[in-house]
């Protein structure tokens, strides 16, 4: 029997020769793996450590069972009752403190504000009214959703009528303020080219050339006014608090008296 044609170097190292004769020779483990396997030549300390597979022979074992976890209270009777604060802001969505207003309650409203009535009101009053209208529309919208969900019966028509009334008031407020803005813009534009108007901010703005109502010339009237202001400091202070002087031409802003 002839040996297979294997190179001499491999034959002597790896493959045990058939020709071993001694029976006392120890039975070596047969393995083709090199002897230095397992000892990394790259000296990598992070080798074998995986967070995903949780392999880290150097990390200490975490005994999670020793840490007592908080247990949820599933019994609803044992839950602490949550009481809404009586002055919570969101109660403004529910003026009757119930989730729905009855059709009678919804229908109990008057007509919308007339533009002629709103023209008499100051900006502060109109501003407050606007916010009341906005919040009322929010209430109506909330109840529309609830009625849609619950379907208790009639009530849509009353709510829609109420909404229309509120919207009419809001449009009235807006129109009044627009009117005032246009009037102010026009007045300013005309005043710039008007010789009888002084927009400098010092003293009276309207200085007519020939006043028909007064015997004294306008400058004297103005001078008297200044004198009275300087005479009494308390009165002067009060006057200063209430009177807002018109802006000077340089620092003139384009913001209307609406704001």
């Amino acid at each position: 029997m002839s040996l297979p044609l294997v190179p001499r170097a491999i034959r002597s190292r790896a493959i045990p020769t058939v020709t071993t004769s001694s029976a006392t020779q120890c039975a070596r483990a047969f393995s083709t793996t090199p002897a230095n396997a397992g000892r990394n030549s790259d000296r990598s300390k992070l080798r074998g450590i995986s967070a995903l597979h949780r392999t880290n022979p150097k990390a200490p074992l975490l005994a999670m069972s020793k840490i007592p976890l908080p247990q949820p209270v599933l019994d609803k009777a044992k839950h602490t009752p949550i009481i809404t604060a009586p002055d919570h802001g969101l109660w403004d969505f529910f003026p009757t403190k119930s989730s729905l207003r009855t059709p009678e309650e919804d229908a109990s409203h008057g007509r919308a504000w007339h533009v002629s009535e709103l023209r008499n009101k100051s900006f502060e009053d109109l501003h407050k009214l606007w916010y009341i209208c906005v919040k009322e529309r929010n209430v109506i919208a909330t109840q529309a959703h609830e009625r849609d969900r619950l379907k208790p019966g009639y009530g849509d028509f009353e709510a829609q009528t109420r909404d229309k009334t509120v919207k009419k008031t809001m449009s009235g407020i807006r129109n009044v303020l627009i009117e005032r803005h246009h009037a102010w813009t026009e007045a300013r534009r005309l005043a710039k080219s008007d010789p009888e108007v002084d927009l400098s901010g010092q003293g009276r703005a309207y200085r007519p050339a020939a006043p028909s109502f007064a015997a004294e010339p306008v400058e004297q009237i103005a001078a008297k006014e200044v004198a009275t202001e300087e005479a009494s400091p308390a009165v002067e202070k009060k006057a200063k608090e209430t009177v807002i002087p018109p802006p000077t031409p340089k620092t003139e802003s384009t913001v209307s008296p609406l704001s």
Partner: protein, 161 residues
């Protein structure tokens, strides 16, 4: 609290507070206009309702469109809904659901609704529901007339299956 520098004196947007099951009391759910942002919402709730907000989450829902032949011009406004879930500093429990529906005439409403449904079915059924064998009776009567006139044979046809 920090707010924007621009002052808006006449805000013109409407929000609806929605009832949501499973939402904790320190959360509130609102439906808002599509162009409103979280910052606007925080501002609005503080200045109008004096409620402070911890965090806000928003999402937009698409509303399924009705079939083309029914679709009208107003539909474009209702294509999307924006909703926001707001975390409140102080909890607010949504008022309980109404149990007694008598102020809304629920009995009358439900009866009227059922009536409308039946009427609709009647109008659009093309007489199918009201058949009661009338159509088949007419067919039989017509066949008899033809048989009498000698235009139709009396041989019965096998039923079609």
């Amino acid at each position: 609290m920090k707010f924007g520098a621009q002052k808006i004196y006449l805000p013109k947007f409407t929000i609806a507070m929605l009832r949501t099951e499973g939402l904790a009391p320190n959360y509130a759910h609102f439906q808002v206009p599509l162009n409103i942002t979280k910052l606007d919402m925080k501002d609005y709730l503080y200045h109008l309702y004096n409620t402070e907000v911890v965090s806000i989450r928003s999402y937009v829902l698409g509303v399924p469109r009705s079939p083309k032949h029914i679709r009208g011009p107003v539909e474009l406004n209702k294509r999307f809904k924006k909703r926001m879930i707001v975390e409140l500093k102080s909890p607010f429990v949504y008022p309980e659901e109404i149990k007694d529906k008598t102020p809304w005439d629920s009995e009358l409403y439900d009866a009227a609704y059922e009536n409308e449904k039946a009427k609709y079915k009647l109008d659009f059924s093309r007489g199918r529901e009201l058949d009661e064998g009338r159509r088949s009776k007419i067919i039989d009567a017509a066949k008899e007339v033809l048989v009498q006139k000698g235009l139709k044979k009396t041989v019965a046809k096998a039923p079609m299956k």
